[in-house]
């Protein structure tokens, strides 16, 4: 052992403590971090200086996060945990405040606001001036200025007070409302229109819009980061990490997903279906051999003088079930129906035929929308807009929907049919008509009910899933992609 070594470890000690806390936080957010990965991370940070924040972040990510879907969770936690470290990220960087020189540029030709000009920073600007500055920054795509404006806007509009028990989204909402980014977007586009001499073609306009969109998105992120920084300063990293804890995409609840989470879900479902299809195809291929093929064995025994030395087996023909999906697409459970339909059609090659029906209080067959279409998203969009599912008032009426189904399609259910019913069974106190479910179960191979509500809520209020469930071969709680994937996997 050399003498330098103890010194080195002692200087690293706070780093390791920090890392340990961070890993614990990742684990409680649901990321599977193993012990050896933890050790790797500790090893990795020895080679990367903490000051190089970006490299530091990627080094940690490379050792700790082994699934891209977890990246966002990691990033948020990282920002919380390490946001107050590194010089450029000090909270009130008054000395290095870009506004100091910005004001000089802006004040040229116009009167500086009287009074508190000496306050420094952007404090002295009127809201109009700040808005104008924001407009200019977005127009030029000036990132440094954008960051400064984000800082200023949060200070001014978010109304953050120490100790106030309000979530970050509230502050974000307040800040964004005052900045009116949509209005700024329109101004930006108008400005571009005027600048181009002979008008823009729709194509050019579209490109411009995308460009500004991405800049505004950038701005929004800056504001979020600023709010987070201030919250961390106020409450401490551990407490913040707890409030920020968001479910991983595969654990997001279908019924309560925010718009952003919906986009994430939609993105997550593509790789999921691909993986599922590959896995199922593989399973099928690697199935054991079928039963003995007597004819073929005798035929082949001829070449061994009548000794059946080479037994032949039939090719296995696993039954491909026919699937009927009956989905409630009323508001509260629409997202769930959408994802399930998407998943079922993505692996439709595993079934001999898939037929789908959607209902609210009336019922309509939508199989046609999916047939011969290779864009499932488009088909689902058509389901939502074109299907004729409203009978009286557009509130779920399971009983009536089942009646319609039974009258029109009941006779087509056969012993090869597996029926999936998707919905929360909240019937608005209409008649249940549970006898239809009983009849269906009688005729069909299997009948499953998938409910997107947590089990604890079943049979509360107007939910009558228990009444229907009595006649099903299984009722399942399917609240997120993870559960959905598991169900579909077992179905095949």
């Amino acid at each position: 052992m050399t003498t330098t070594e103890p010194a080195e470890t002692s200087s690293n000690q706070p780093m390791f403590d920090l890392l340990e806390g961070f890993v614990a936080e990742l684990r409680s957010a649901g990321l599977p971090v193993s012990l050896s990965e933890n050790i790797d991370a500790a090893e990795a940070v020895r080679h990367i200086p903490l000051e190089d924040r970006l490299a530091f972040k990627y080094a940690l990510a490379a050792t700790l996060v082994k699934n891209n879907a977890h990246w966002k969770t990691f990033e948020t936690l990282f920002e919380v945990y390490f946001s107050l470290r590194g010089s450029e990220y000090t909270l009130d960087g008054e000395d290095g405040d870009p506004f100091a020189d910005m004001d000089l540029d802006m004040d040229e030709g116009e009167q500086g606001p009287p009074g508190d000009g000496g306050q420094g920073g952007g404090e002295g600007m009127s809201p109009e001036e700040l808005a104008e500055l924001l407009f200019q920054a977005l127009m030029k795509g000036d990132e440094i200025l954008m960051r400064a404006i984000a800082r200023q806007a949060v200070k001014r509009y978010a109304g953050m007070e120490p100790g106030r028990p309000v979530g970050g989204t509230y502050y974000l909402y307040r800040t964004l409302r005052n900045l009116d980014l949509d209005g700024v977007m329109e101004r930006l586009m108008e400005q571009r229109q005027e600048q181009s001499p002979d008008g823009m073609t729709p194509f050019e306009e579209r490109l411009e819009r995308d460009e500004f969109d991405s800049r505004i998105e950038q701005m929004r992120k800056e504001i979020e980061a600023e709010i987070r920084r201030r919250l961390v300063a106020d409450r401490g990293a551990e407490a913040m990490a707890k409030t920020l804890r968001k479910p991983l995409p595969e654990d997001v609840d279908f019924m309560h997903a925010s718009r952003e989470e919906m986009t994430q879900l939609r993105r997550a479902i593509y790789p999921l279906t691909r993986k599922l299809a590959a896995r199922l195809a593989r399973k099928r291929r690697h199935k054991r051999k079928g039963p003995l093929d007597f004819r073929s064995t005798v035929r082949h025994s001829l070449s061994y003088g009548g000794v059946p030395a080479d037994p032949r087996f039939k090719h296995p023909k696993p039954a491909k079930p026919e699937i009927f999906v009956i989905a409630d697409i009323s508001g509260s459970v629409a997202a769930f129906a959408r994802f399930t339909l998407h998943l079922v059609y993505a692996i439709s090659s595993q079934f001999s035929r898939v037929r789908s029906f959607v209902f609210i209080d009336g019922l309509d067959e939508v199989t046609d929308y999916f047939e011969g279409v290779d864009d499932i998203t488009e088909a689902i969009h058509r389901v939502n807009t074109e299907a004729d599912v409203v009978w009286v008032d557009g509130h779920s009426d399971y009983g009536h929907a089942f009646e319609v189904f039974w009258d029109n399609y009941g006779s087509e259910i056969g012993p090869k049919t597996t029926v999936l019913i998707l919905g929360d069974a909240r019937n608005n106190y209409h008649a249940s008509q549970a006898w239809i479910i009983k009849e269906i179960q009688h005729k069909a191979r299997k009948l499953f009910w998938l409910n997107p509500e947590p089990k604890a809520y079943w049979d509360t209020g107007d939910s009558i899933v228990g009444e229907y469930g009595a006649y099903c071969d299984g009722t399942f709680e399917v609240r997120n992609l993870r559960q959905l994937e598991r169900f579909v996997d077992n179905l095949v």
Binding site: A44, H47, L54, A59, A62, E204, A278
Partner: protein, 296 residues
Amino acid sequence: MTHRFDSVDAVREGLRKVDYLADESIAGIAYLADRLQKPVLIEGPAGTGKTQLAKSVAEMSGARLIRLQCYEGLDEAKALYEWNYKKQLLRIQVERGDESGEWTEIKDDIFSDEFLLPRPLLEAITADDPVVLLIDEVDRVELETEALLLEILSDYQVSIPELGTIEAKQIPLVFLTSNNTRELSEALKRRCLFLHLDYPSMDREKEIVLTKVPDVTDSLADQVARIVRSVRQLELKKHPSVSETLDWARTLVLLGIEHIDEKEAVETVNILLKYRSDIEKAVKEFSTNSDAHFTG
């Protein structure tokens, strides 16, 4: 132990010299892979330069690239090593004429280095010169075959029952690529550094076009990158990859197009997109004006 790279910046500069534009994460992880002596698992959509990264790292560090292409049904004999049984048979037959030959002698003889056919993995381990080992599309092998890789990835050694354990003479830099068609095993992931290669940012894509496409003007590269970014925002079956972007830019240069407008875009979009439904969607999206009130 000498290291291949001095710093993250050195990696980035080196890669730039061989025309690979690395961003912060790519350079950082390549650097770490060398320092920690760990393999890198690269995951991401097709055509984002996963394989190219391994090739470029090999080129910049002057190492030999050994490539193992994975496919379903890959086994030990094709990945690790195989006994050259024809040669072994020959050897036995030669011995047979010679009465004095003892069986144990022959046995020791025929299971020696001479009769061993090294396959990519063994070759990478036993090489004397620096090598970069690329295990391409590792998600194509079955879950069970993955286990073959574990010993080599964590300890850089191969155990051959008849010979014993062969340890690496030098630690090769290992890259594994995956298109994520299935979940890789935890055991494999745990042993690797993980790098997700996504489509590049617009600025980086523009630079890639500028470096890779000869005779392209700055303004054309800019337009190409911007249009590709917009196309990637649509919900498509298959988003254009970097290589398709490059193909498209090359085509535009060949056609002598300097300014891309709707007409040019629609005419050449089939180079960028490969599915009919995607093409239709993109054409529809870009030729109709969705926000009519802005044109007034």
